[in-house]
Amino acid sequence: MDEEYAFFPGCIAKNVYPGIEKATRIVFEKLEIGLRDYEYSCCPPPGVMACYDKPSWLVIGARNLLQSEKDGLNPMTICAGCYGTLHNVWYALKNDPALMDYVNENLSKIDLKYEGKNHPIHFLDILKDHKEKIAELKELDLGLNVAVHYGCHYLKPTSVTGENSERPTLLDEMVELVGCKAVPFKDRLSCCGAGGGVMSGEPDVSLKIVNTKLNNMKAANVDAIVDICSFCHMQFDQSQKKLGTTEIPVLHLNQLYGLAFGIRPKHLAMHTHLVSTRDIVKKVKAAKKG
């Protein structure tokens, strides 16, 4: 494999929505991009962990980053939260030698050392260089109107990510590759409300935020929400059950690609989502026939 990454699935994809992990493995295998597994721990979350103790967050994050250093592989995330952690930890340690020393002081207690050699990358930034192959692999034009959700930690802070956080277009383009249309809706770049430990620590506020966003999506008559973050994914799927006002199926981009590549929805664990994906499945079946 010429192109290979250290696969960092994150706790949500591993332990709550394994369909996202499976979809990722399938899509990357089809794209002939290697994914290697390492003894990763929780990233740890930029919400709960960094907010409780930022130094600890740096150390645990660095432990994850260093795992693939010996193989010269860059870690790849599929959750924007994990990306927020790994990328920002990498950036902070790269620019502050004192922090790097602190981190390595702790890591040395278990005979580990972080050299800052590799560079964490979010899966969307890998897929964007494979647009042609994706178009080739596509078996169905899904024809869905979707609400795309970038996820805050993929875009910001732009001083670290280098993204255009006011007018991003990449995810809109990526769903178009498989015949979907990114439908504009009010406050399309707004946070899902789960981050910063709010989902766990202030659940009322978290639900209020996501409720507003879901209603905006509903007003735009979308068939599905497409995200590039397992945590946002979980927020959208779980909160709709709690709120009961909307029933918009939620798909991770890799699940969307899986469907477009002709993989059966069950193999992408779509049947385990809290918000039923039946309507999507129906549309996909129709696309197959047509």
């Binding site: 394994p18 499976k22 645990i60 702790n106 805050c152 802070p157 935020i209």
Partner: protein, 161 residues
């Protein structure tokens, strides 16, 4: 490494703030609750007990305020660091138990969100290993990980020691 409020303000460029309010105006949480990012910075600067404010925990760290601040004040970074201080002093979010559970799970299993038997089954069905290969796969590795955490503040703040 505990920083004081003054140090947090210095590192976060908080003294440059002109209280223009673009941060609060951009805040998705502020529209739904009483979080006023601008006010938190003001309180910190004039020496009020900002770490006691409940609203400190309503921020989702979406970074929109930090992006839009014309004075390059690192609003979100400061909120995160003020939270560190708040936890230290015992001022916690409303559902303080839940973060504690997550920290405990991180310690015990290496994952903030642990694997349940039901999901393990789903993993098998869809063709993944029933438990992902990670820090908890090898007992030795998990023990080392726990030893690492023993030396970090997170375990003390999470009530584990």
């Amino acid at each position: 490494m505990g920083k004081s409020v003054k140090e947090i303000l210095m590192d976060g460029n908080g003294y440059a703030c002109i209280q223009c309010g673009r941060c609060t105006g951009s805040c998705p949480s502020g529209r739904e609750c009483s979080l006023r990012t601008r006010k938190l910075i003001h309180m910190a600067r004039i020496g009020m007990d900002v770490i006691k404010e409940d609203e400190l925990w309503d921020c989702t760290t979406c970074f929109t305020c930090q992006e839009r601040c014309p004075k390059e004040v690192k609003t979100t970074d400061m909120i995160i660091e003020l939270r560190n201080l708040a936890v230290e002093e015992g001022y916690l979010p409303t559902m303080a138990d839940v973060p504690k559970i997550i920290i405990k799970s991180l310690y015990d299993t290496g994952a903030g969100q642990p694997l349940s038997p039901e999901i393990s089954k789903v993993r098998s069905i869809i063709g993944l290993k029933k438990e992902a290969y990670d820090v908890s796969t090898n007992e030795e590795t998990l023990k080392k990980f726990q030893r690492l955490l023993d030396g970090l503040e997170i375990t003390r703040k999470g009530g584990l020691r």
